[in-house]
């Protein structure tokens, strides 16, 4: 039966090629526009750390009060060293890390090779477990390394390949600026996008880019006066100079993360954070009531508008466009099916049931949908390729076609076409055989 309907469908599609082509073009354009914008949206709103992101929280504390330039008095994304240190000591979360961006000039042991720049982060050892950093060799440093601020170093696989040809380099030494570090671990491939964990401004939080090269203990970096590579943000009246002044200032430059596995943990930490700010108010450091935030990764990404508004809006507009296409497809299929009323009449008179007619036309619609889907695939490919030329390369790298997208394109176009065909099919099934036979 299906084979017969299939054959009928092919015959009918070939009989009115213009109408068929119009329907196919409409389906293809509609599905391609929503798929291209969907691919962009998917690339930019992908969960940077699936399964983990909901339990990683970033505490924010308003330590500027009325001097806060933000119109809504939103606390800054980073903390002052005073607050970061206090939170580290309080140890109110199962796992926690202070974090800031660093940059060094790496001097290779082989004197014939030129020094080069490396970027990374000063973190606590909890960082590796919190952010699912895999270890190719060795492991993160110990808790006592954190406390004592030793010269332990975790390097990226890329840096390990470059310096040690990919061999196990645990125990080897690396010279960064003027200080020797000892490699305790080599991280495997790890580069969540966007680099939400990074320090700093909204711009940096939504940054897409390469994986960090090195990680070193936060305490050590502070002791060695390793400056933050992102920069710090000070109140306009800040007059201090030098490292010690910075550590005792209200300048914000340290990102802080806590790992809170259960909602109860999160509630507990939120009240801890509130109490901390309240204590600062009692001590006279803050002259304003506690103004703190505890956002997890999805909330943080929404807050900083990690996905450009234009991308979201264009996806919605593309969905609207798809609707326009469907309305057209309904009309054109109606035209196509009603034109064949005499044929339906004959089939009905020969004993075909309404269901059989309905099935025949739905199969035909699904076929048109499949052909439209193929065109949609082609147009989606062109669109995604064009997107690579449009967007900054870092983001464009994330927009890609995969089997899922291909499957979705075909599925959407076939389902949409069959849905659009429901009314025309119903009308076709209602054709009265007597009317058609009489008029002929």
């Amino acid at each position: 039966m299906f084979g017969y309907y299939f054959e009928l469908a092919v015959r009918s599609l070939r009989r009115s090629p213009v109408l068929t082509i119009l329907v196919v073009v409409l389906i293809g354009t509609g599905v391609a526009s929503s798929m291209v914008t969907f691919a962009a949206l998917r690339a930019m709103s992908a969960d940077p750390m699936p399964g983990k992101s909901a339990q990683l929280y970033r505490p924010q504390i308003d330590n500027w009060g009325p001097a806060n330039p933000d119109a809504h008095r939103e606390p800054p994304l980073t903390l002052s060293y005073i607050d970061a240190e206090a939170l580290l000591h309080a140890h109110a979360a199962p796992r926690q890390t202070a974090l800031y961006q660093v940059a060094f000039s790496l001097v290779p042991a082989d004197a014939t090779r030129a020094p080069f720049a490396v970027k990374g982060y000063a973190v606590t050892t909890d960082f590796f477990a919190m952010f699912n950093v895999p270890m190719a060799y060795g492991a993160g440093w110990s808790a006592s390394d954190d406390d004592k601020g030793t010269d332990a170093l975790v390097i990226s696989r890329r840096l390990n390949d470059r310096l040690f040809g990919g061999t196990d380099s645990v125990g080897r030494e690396i010279r960064l600026d003027n200080h020797d570090y000892r490699v305790v671990g080599v991280a495997g491939d790890w580069n969540p996008q966007p680099r939400f964990y990074a320090t700093g401004s909204i711009h940096v939080t939504t940054d897409h880019g390469d994986a960090p090269d090195v990680f070193l203990p936060f305490t050590h970096a502070v002791e060695q006066q390793v400056a933050t590579a992102w920069g710090n943000y000070c109140r306009p009246d800040y007059k201090g100079t030098g490292w010690d002044a910075l550590l005792h200032s209200e300048c914000v430059w340290v990102a802080f993360w806590v790992d809170l596995p259960t909602p109860a943990d999160a509630r507990h930490y939120a009240s801890f954070l509130h109490n901390y700010a309240a204590a600062q108010q009692r001590m006279g450091r803050f002259s304003w009531p506690p103004n703190v935030r505890l956002r997890n990764v999805p909330q943080l990404l929404a807050y900083v508008h990690a996905v450009p508004e234009q991308v979201r809006v264009s996806f919605l507009l593309a969905l609207g466009l798809q609707l326009v296409c469907l309305v057209n497809v309904i009309g054109l299929l109606l035209a196509k099916f009603m034109r064949r009323s005499p044929e339906i009449g004959v089939r009905r008179a020969l004993g075909a049931s309404r269901r059989a007619i309905g099935l025949q036309f739905l199969i035909e619609a699904a076929m048109v949908g499949a052909v439209g889907g193929l065109l949609g695939l082609l147009l989606t490919g062109i669109g995604v390729y064009g997107m690579g030329a449009l967007f900054t390369s870092k983001i464009a790298r994330l927009v890609h076609i995969d089997a899922g997208l291909l499957g979705l394109t075909m599925l959407v176009s076939m389902v949409a076409t069959v849905l659009a065909a429901l009314y025309p099919t119903w009308r076709a099934a209602q054709v009265q055989p007597a009317w058609q036979l009489k008029s002929n």
């Binding site: 508004e309 809006v313 466009l321 009309g331």
Partner: protein, 415 residues
């Protein structure tokens, strides 16, 4: 042809017109919004910058948070830059076009009570260095400059009178009733102790550096203040060069900046030296991307609407071949048939467009609620409407011509 006949036909066969109407409404709503978004993206790109773009090299990201650059270091950089072959003028500045790191926003209030938030550019001799066109008044006098720095020197204006200010033509028009601004006073509504500003000069154009606000005629909301950069923790330079020697000068400027500031910058901070042109290119990159996305959607909407109306009307004309034949046999000319179908399409599309404008407005309100988008001005609705009407007429032309070509003899044949 009375409109009553048009309506009665539409009532009798309501499916096809209803589908055309529905798609026109949705397409019109999309088109109004997407064209407005395109315009929003385009405005800062089209706004004249006022600067001598192909003669300009900009240096920024000279930052030293721990220890501010001294006045001598800042001046030394200026002197060294001026000695570079091909350099016409150079000055340390705070706030420069296409440099988004250093922003200064100032609130200004004119005598008419209009308040405007503007961006301020500071630096000695900026008119000359940026190549601005002074259309009235004068540049700042050397005696008028005061020292300025972030986290360093910051001399307040305290000369007993208002401080001089140079504004753009657009600002002069907005802040003063008759546009005559020269010599007149502006105040800062946020600062009660402020002595105010006196307009001493007017430049033709000067693009602001908060480009997100450079829409709806606000692109030129920029002023110059009489400040000389002194000890500061963040520093930038504007360098004007001979256009023919630009590339060579760019390399030399890089070298000079490295020599002067390389040792003063903390690890990880590198100065950025590039031409105005390349910065403009980079700054507008995301704008161009969004523009491409929106342009793609616009094109698709136009294509889909034209194809759709063509297909639907084509079928509808075919269905009425016999009626057309009868009308022709009863004396209607080809032009009458053509006009009938064009009028019918105009009627359907008009109703669709009316609904579409409402949808566009609601859709925009909805988008505004969830995303930070600008409000769609009423004036944009007719633009989408006119475009849709033209598209409708264009799409129906083919089927209407086919209808007009139906010979009267059809009326005498059975189907």
């Amino acid at each position: 042809m009375s409109i009553r006949i048009l309506f009665s036909t539409l009532r009798r066969h309501s499916m096809m017109p209803a589908l055309v109407l529905l798609q026109v409404a949705v397409a019109c709503a999309i088109l109004c919004n997407v064209l407005f978004l395109v315009w929003q993206q385009l405005q800062p790109m089209l706004a004249p910058s006022g600067v001598a773009g192909n003669q300009l090299i900009l240096v920024d990201r000279l930052a030293s948070p721990q220890r501010a650059f001294t006045t001598a270091e800042v001046r030394g950089g200026e002197v060294a830059l001026r000695e570079v072959p091909g350099v016409r003028a150079a000055t340390a500045a705070f706030g420069l076009p296409m440099v988004r790191g250093n922003l200064m926003d100032i609130a200004l209030q004119g005598p008419t009570g209009v308040k405007v938030g503007v961006n301020g550019y500071l630096g000695a001799g900026l008119i000359d260095v940026l190549g601005l066109q002074l259309v009235a008044g004068r540049d700042f006098l050397p005696s008028e400059y005061r020292d300025f720095g972030i986290g360093g020197t910051h001399e307040k204006w305290s000369a007993g009178g208002p401080q001089p200010i140079i504004i753009t033509q657009a600002l002069a028009k907005r802040l003063f009733a008759n546009g005559r601004a020269l010599g007149r006073l502006l105040t800062d509504p946020s600062d009660k102790n402020d002595l105010g500003y006196q307009v001493v000069g007017i430049v033709r154009h000067l693009l602001r550096n908060q480009l997100g606000l450079a829409t709806n005629g606000r692109a030129d909301d920029t002023v110059l203040l009489a400040r000389r950069i002194a000890s500061t923790s963040t520093l930038s330079y504007a360098v004007r060069v001979e256009p023919t020697l630009r590339e060579a000068a760019l390399r030399s400027v890089r070298k000079v900046i490295q020599q002067h500031f390389g040792a003063l910058l903390p690890t990880g901070i590198t100065a950025r030296v590039s031409t105005y042109r390349s910065r403009r290119e980079a700054v507008f990159k995301s704008q161009r991307a969004a523009l491409g996305l929106f342009a793609g959607i616009t094109l698709a909407v136009v294509a889909v609407t034209v194809i759709g109306i063509m297909g639907l009307t084509g079928f509808w004309v075919q269905k009425r071949t016999r009626q057309i034949g009868i009308r022709r046999a009863l004396g209607a000319r080809r032009a009458d048939i053509l006009r009938y179908f064009l009028a019918e399409n105009a009627l359907i599309v008009s109703i669709g467009v009316a609904i579409g404008m409402l949808l566009a407005y609601l859709g925009n309100a909805l988008l505004m609620h969830y995303y930070e988008l600008a409000r769609l001005p009423w004036s944009w609705l007719p633009i989408g409407a006119v475009v849709m009407l033209l598209l409708g007429q264009l799409a129906v032309l083919g089927p209407a011509l086919r209808a007009a070509a139906v010979p009267p003899v059809v009326a005498t044949r059975s189907v």
